[in-house]
Symmetry: C2
Subunit: 686 residues, 2 copies
C-alpha cells in the first residue's frame, strides 16, 4: 500500500508518522497511521468534524520541507463548507484534502475522537472521551435486481468501505429501523454504532448529535445530567426527590417495606424508574431536545438503590450477610427499565463493590482516580449518606468499607433537623464569649447578623425552617469550641446562667439556635448531640478499621464526596472528629464524585473497563464482623479536636481549655478517653 518513496506524513500531537501514497485523503492517512480523526458524515464535507491544520515550512527535526503544494487544492465542496461554517482559513477538511507531498498535520482537540474533556461546572476531573456510540453517515448501494445482500449487509459493506468498520452486527429492532431509514433517506442514512461493533440506530437524515444521561440515584435525591455524547457537553443538569422516600426515609426502612409487602420492592422499582423518566423528560424539555435522541445512560447508586432500580430483590441486602445479586456492571435496555429514550438506548450501571458499598462508590473511584494516589500518601475517600461509604487508598491497595452512620448527617433524627433545602440553617458561628450564634440559611446570601438578612429572608419567603446536616455539624463543633459542649458531648447546663440560649430540657439542656418571637424555633438538644456523636463515631471507626487493614497510622489526605461532603467545612469536620487526623488543607470536598463517575462512564468506554478492573481489586472490609470496629466506635464517641502534633488547627481556631473527662455511667458508649487525653496534652503543649 505504501512505500518509503511515498510522501511522509506526520500527525501532531500524536506523533504518528508513515508514508502514504499521493492522493490519499488526510482522513484516510490518519486512519492508516492509527490517528483517530472524528468524521460523522463519512467524507461528505457536511459535518466538519474532521478539520485539521496542515503546517507549512521547514521541519528540520523530521528532515522535511512542506509547502502548500503538498496538499491538494480546495475543491468546491470544501469551499462551500468553509463559506457556510466560517471554518478558519488554515483548516482543511481531512476527508476532502489529499496528500500530495510530505506533510505535518495538526489534529486539533475538537477533531480527535479521544479528546480530553474538562467539565468545570460538575467538578469532574479532565478525562479522555472514548465514545461508546459513534455516528456515521453512510451511502448504501440501492438494491438492484440481482443485487447480492440484504439492506443490512449492504449497509455493513458501505460502513466497512467508508469507515473501516468490520464484523458489525445488528439486532432485529435496529434492522427494522434501518430498513425504513434507508428508504426514507433515499439510501443515505446516519447510523449509530455502539462499541464499534453493533448498529443500534438509524436515521434517514444527517444527524450529528445523540444524547446520553448520567444519573446518580441517592436515597433522597436523584441527580441527572443530559449530555451530548460526541462532545461531552453537559446540556442540562437537574435533580429530583427520590419518590421512594414515601416507603421509608432511610435505606433499611425501604428494605423493611420490601420485606413486609409482597409488591413492595416492585412499587419502589416503579417509583424510582418513573422519577428518572420524568427527570430526564424535564431536562430534555428544558433544552428543547427529544428524548428519542437519548441513546445511552450511565447510572450509579448505592446497592439498595441499584437493586431496586434494576428490579433485583433488595431484601438480601437488609440483613447479614448482605449478599449482592451481582457485583458486576450491568448493561440492559432502557426500554426494559421503563425509560423513554431511543428504543435502542442502553443503560450501563456501574458495578457495586460489596453489600454496603455500591455503584455510587464505584463512581467515586472513577472520578477520584485512586490509581493516581502516591503510594506513600494514604488517602481516604468518604461518601457520606445514610451509610458512609469509605475507600482507603494506600500503598497501591484499595480498601473499602461501609459505616452505619444513620441519617443524622442528612438532618434526620435531629429534633430541628431537615434536608438541605431553602430555609435550612447550613452554616453556624457561635461567639465564644456571649455564646450568641450567627448563621446562614440556604437560599439567603446574608448571614443572620447582617442588616440585609431579614429582608432577604422575607423575599425568599421560606423563613428559617430547621437545620440541615452541615448546619448541625457546624453548630455542634462551634458549641464545643465555645465550651458549651464538653468533650464527652454533654451540653453544659452550668452555662445557663451565662446565656439565655442554654435552657433546661428535662434532665438535660438544649441550645436555642434560633428563637423568633413568632415562628419556628431551632433547637439543639442533648439527643441531637448524641445522634451526631453516634454518626461521627461510626464514620471515624470505619476509617480507622481501613487504616488498621492497610497498616497505616495516619492518612495524608481526606476527600469528602457527596452533597454533605461538599457542604461541610473541613475545619468543623476535623474539630468534630468525623474523619481521622489530617492536615487541614488536605481535607477537601470532592463534590458529587459519584455523579461525576457516572458522567465519565457515560462518555468513555475505556473508563468502564477501567472501573470494572478497579472494582475487582478492591479489598472489601465488612465492619459488622470486625471486633475492632466496635472498639474504634466506642473510642470515637468523644468530641476531639485536631490532635496530631502536625496540626495547624490551633492556629486557626481558639480551642477550648482542656478539662478532665468524667466517665458517664449512664452512657453505654464511653467517651474517647485516649483521644481526649491527647487533646489535653496537645493543648498543654501549645
Amino acid at each position: 500500500m505504501s512505500a518509503p518513496a511515498d510522501p511522509l506524513v506526520i500527525f501532531t500531537p500524536s506523533g504518528r508518522r508513515g508514508h502514504v501514497p499521493p492522493g490519499t485523503t488526510l482522513l484516510d492517512a490518519g486512519r492508516a497511521l492509527g490517528v483517530d480523526i472524528d468524521a460523522t458524515c463519512g467524507g461528505r464535507g457536511i459535518c466538519g468534524r474532521c478539520a485539521v491544520v496542515p503546517a507549512f515550512g521547514s521541519f528540520p527535526k523530521h528532515g522535511i520541507n512542506v509547502d502548500a503544494s503538498h496538499v491538494s487544492a480546495e475543491m468546491s465542496l470544501e469551499a462551500e463548507y468553509r463559506r457556510e461554517s466560517g471554518m478558519a482559513q488554515d483548516r482543511r477538511l481531512s476527508c476532502l484534502c489529499n496528500v500530495e507531498g510530505d506533510l505535518v498535520i495538526d489534529v486539533p482537540p475538537e477533531s480527535q475522537v479521544h479528546r480530553q474533556v474538562v467539565r468545570k461546572e460538575l467538578s469532574v476531573r479532565p478525562f479522555e472521551l472514548d465514545p461508546v456510540l459513534r455516528l456515521y453517515q453512510v451511502s448504501v448501494e440501492p438494491p438492484e435486481l440481482g443485487t447480492v445482500g440484504g439492506d443490512l449487509t449492504r449497509t455493513f459493506e458501505a460502513l466497512e468501505r467508508e469507515s473501516g468498520l468490520e464484523n458489525l452486527t445488528a439486532g432485529l429492532r435496529a434492522t427494522h429501523e434501518l430498513q425504513s431509514a434507508l428508504r426514507d433517506g433515499d439510501w443515505t442514512v446516519t447510523v449509530a454504532i455502539r462499541d464499534g461493533r453493533e448498529l443500534v440506530a438509524a436515521w434517514p437524515d444527517f444527524k450529528d448529535r445523540v444524547l446520553g444521561v448520567a444519573i446518580d440515584i441517592g436515597s433522597t435525591t436523584i441527580a441527572a445530567h443530559l449530555v451530548d455524547l460526541a462532545s461531552g457537553d453537559v446540556l442540562a443538569s437537574g435533580g429530583a426527590m427520590n419518590p421512594q422516600i414515601r416507603y421509608g426515609e432511610d435505606l433499611m426502612s425501604r428494605v423493611s417495606y420490601a420485606m413486609l409487602h409482597a409488591e413492595g420492592a416492585a412499587e419502589m422499582t416503579k417509583a424510582v424508574r418513573g422519577a428518572i423518566d420524568k427527570l430526564t423528560a424535564t431536562l430534555a424539555n428544558r433544552v428543547g431536545v427529544k428524548r428519542a435522541d437519548i441513546l445511552e445512560l450511565a447510572i450509579v447508586g448505592n446497592p439498595i438503590m441499584h437493586h431496586l432500580l434494576l428490579g433485583l430483590d433488595p431484601t438480601p441486602l437488609g440483613a447479614a450477610p448482605f449478599a449482592l445479586a451481582t457485583d458486576r456492571s450491568v448493561e440492559t435496555d432502557a426500554v426494559g427499565l421503563g425509560l423513554h429514550a431511543h428504543p435502542g438506548a442502553r443503560v450501563y450501571v456501574l458495578p457495586c463493590i460489596a453489600g454496603h458499598v455500591g455503584a455510587d462508590t464505584a463512581g467515586v473511584l472513577l472520578a477520584e482516580q485512586p490509581e493516581r494516589v502516591a503510594a506513600d500518601r494514604p488517602t481516604l475517600i468518604v461518601d457520606v449518606g445514610t451509610n458512609a461509604e469509605l475507600v482507603l487508598v494506600s500503598g497501591g491497595r484499595l480498601l473499602a468499607a461501609s459505616s452505619p452512620t444513620g441519617p443524622a448527617f442528612e438532618g434526620a433524627q435531629i429534633s430541628s433537623g431537615q434536608r438541605a433545602a431553602p430555609g435550612a440553617i447550613e452554616r453556624v458561628r457561635i461567639d465564644r464569649q456571649t455564646l450568641e450564634p450567627r448563621f446562614k440559611v440556604i437560599g439567603v446570601e446574608a448571614w443572620s447578623d447582617d442588616a440585609g438578612f431579614e429582608p432577604a429572608l422575607a423575599e425568599a419567603g421560606t423563613g428559617v425552617t430547621g437545620i440541615c446536616g452541615s448546619g448541625i455539624v457546624e453548630v455542634i463543633a462551634e458549641l464545643f469550641l465555645a465550651g458549651v459542649i464538653t468533650p464527652d458531648g454533654t451540653i453544659d447546663g452550668s452555662l445557663a446562667t451565662r446565656s439565655p440560649r442554654i435552657v433546661a430540657d428535662g434532665r438535660t439542656f438544649s441550645y436555642l439556635l434560633h428563637a423568633p418571637k413568632d415562628g419556628q424555633r431551632v433547637v439543639v438538644t442533648q439527643n441531637d448531640v448524641r445522634a451526631i456523636q453516634l454518626a461521627k463515631a461510626a464514620l471515624y471507626a470505619g476509617a480507622r478499621l481501613l487504616m488498621d487493614h492497610a497498616a497505616v497510622e495516619s492518612v495524608s489526605e481526606v476527600r469528602l464526596a457527596g452533597a454533605f461532603g461538599s457542604q461541610i467545612d473541613p475545619l468543623h469536620a476535623l474539630i468534630l472528629g468525623l474523619v481521622p487526623d489530617c492536615e487541614l488543607p488536605s481535607v477537601r470536598a470532592a463534590g458529587n464524585a459519584a455523579g461525576a463517575g457516572a458522567l465519565i462512564a457515560l462518555l468513555s468506554g475505556a473508563s468502564r473497563r477501567e472501573i470494572e478492573a478497579t472494582v475487582r481489586r478492591v479489598e472489601k472490609i465488612e465492619t459488622a464482623v470486625e471486633p475492632r470496629f466496635q472498639a474504634h466506635f466506642v473510642e470515637a464517641m468523644a468530641i476531639p479536636h485536631r490532635t496530631a502534633p502536625t496540626t495547624n488547627l490551633a492556629k486557626v481556631v481558639e480551642l477550648p481549655a482542656p478539662r478532665e473527662i468524667e466517665p458517664r455511667q449512664s452512657s453505654s458508649r464511653p467517651p474517647n478517653r485516649r483521644r481526649a487525653a491527647t487533646v489535653a496534652t496537645a493543648v498543654e503543649e501549645r
Copy 2:
C-alpha cells in the same frame, strides 16, 4: 498435571488418549483429553448422563492390560444410582469413578454431548447434536459476611470450578432469576448455559430437560415440532393453518394487503405470531409439558413469512428489486415476538438467501447437505409452494433461484381445486381405453373402484370435495398418457364421442373426473390444464436457467421438498415435465426438508454456523432479469414425457402415440415445439 508415568487412558470411539494422574475421575479425564461427556448434575450421581463402559482385558494395539483394579470401587452414591435407575452392570458413572491404572473407556452414544441423532419420523438425516443450551446443576457457596463476590460471581466461580466454564455472562433478567433460585434452592441450582457463554435461566430444583421448538412457517400451514433439547427427541409434532390466509391466499396478495392498509403488515405479524403461540401451546399440552421449559426456537419460512414474523416491512419484497431487510440469520427474544416460553427463550431464524429464496430454502439446504453432492452429479433441489424455490448443486457450486409458479400446484386457481385436506382427490389413474378414472381421496384408504370405497367415504364423512395439487398433476399427466390431452395441452374434444366424461364447456372441453348423482362434481377444465401448464413451465424454466448458469445439460438427481413434493408421484412429475429430464429412480421426495432444517438448527449450534456459511456462498440467480428465463418458459409450456435416450419411462408407462403439434394462434405462449419434436423422435426410435 500429568506425566508418562501416570496411567494411560484411551477413550473410544473418539480414540482420544493421554496420561492422567491416578484418582482423576473418568469425567475429568475425558474433559482433560477433549472427550465431551454429558453431565448435567455436575458429578452428583443424579442425572446418569455421564455413564461410560470401562473395558477390561489385554489391548495389544495400545500395549496395555486392563483389569478391574484400574478403576475405583463402586461407592454408595453410585450403587444407589444403579439400584434406582437400573443402570447396567458394565456401566460406571464417570463422575464418581476414578482412574487407578491404564484404561480403555467406551463412551456410549447417549453419553456423548455431540451424539448422532436419527429422526426417522421426520425424515431428517442423521446429524450431530451440538446443544445450544446445556444444563448444569451447581452448588454455589452461600454468602457469608465478608464473602467476596455477588450471587452471580459466586455462581460463575462454581461453574468454572465444577464444569470448566469460563468467561460467563448473564443478562439482568437471568441475574434476577438466579438470585431467587439460589435462595429457593438453598444454594444448589440448575442453570442453562447458552453457547457455553451465557447463563440464561436458573431453577432451584434439579432439572434435566429443557425444550425447543422447530417451526416451518408456510404461506398456508405452519408446522411445529416440540423437542427435548438434550436428547433431540421429538416429543410432539403438529400443524396449524396460517391465519394470514384471511389477508390473502398467496404471498403477493398479502404483500398487497400490507401496501394498502396502514396496519396491514402489523395485523399479519400479530396473526402469525398468535398462531405459532397457540400451536406451541397445543403441542406442550398434548405431552403434558410446560411452555416455561421452552428455551429455544428455530424458525424457517419464505422471505415474506420471515419478514412478517419478525415485524420487518414485507412490501419491498413485493416488487422489483425484491430487497430483503436482512440476509443474515436473526436471533431475538421469544418474548419480543409475543411467544409464551421461558422468559429467557431465544429465537433463531435461519437466514434468507435472496428476495424470493427464503429461510425455508436455507432449511432445505441444511437438511439436504449439498456439500455431500458429488461434483459430477448435478443435483436439483426443488421446494414447491406458491413460489418454487430451486437450488442446483453442481461442481461444488450452489445456485439458487425462485420461479413464479403461482398457487396452481396448491390447488388454487383450479376450478375444482382445493388444499390437501380430507375429501380431496390426491391420486388418479385413467384407463387408456375406456378413459374411466379411478382415484384416491385423502382420508380414505380405498381407491374409488374398490368395493370398500363408498362405505369408507361415508364413514370419513367428508364426501369428495375437490382435487388437491398432487391430484391435479396426476390427472393431467394421466389424461396426457390416455391421449385426452394433446402435447400442446388441449383437451381433445373429438374424444367426446368415445367417452361421456369428455364434455363441451363453451368453446373448449372438460373432463368429468367425478360426477355423482347428488353431490359435488369434480371437473378438469381446459383452463385448469393451462394453469398447470403455466406453473410447470415456470418451474421447469427456473431449473433450466440454473443449469445454464452452472453450464450443465442435465441433472443426475432431483429432490422434491415440501408437502407438494412429497405427495406428487415422481413418474407423473416427469411425464408432465415439471422438472428436467432425469432417471426416474433419481427423482425422490425430500419430505419437509425445510422443517427438518429448522429441527437441525434447533439442535445443533454447529449447524447454524454451517448454514450461515453455506448461504453466503449461494449464487443468487434472479429469474426476473434473465431473458433466458422467458425463453425457457415458453419452450416448457408443452406437455412432454421423458425424452432423453436414457429414459426407462417408456418401460413403465404406455406413452401415447406421437402426433404432429399444431401451433395454437390463440395462445400467447407457444407450446414447446423442440421438446415435442424430440418426444416424437424418441417415441419413433422405440
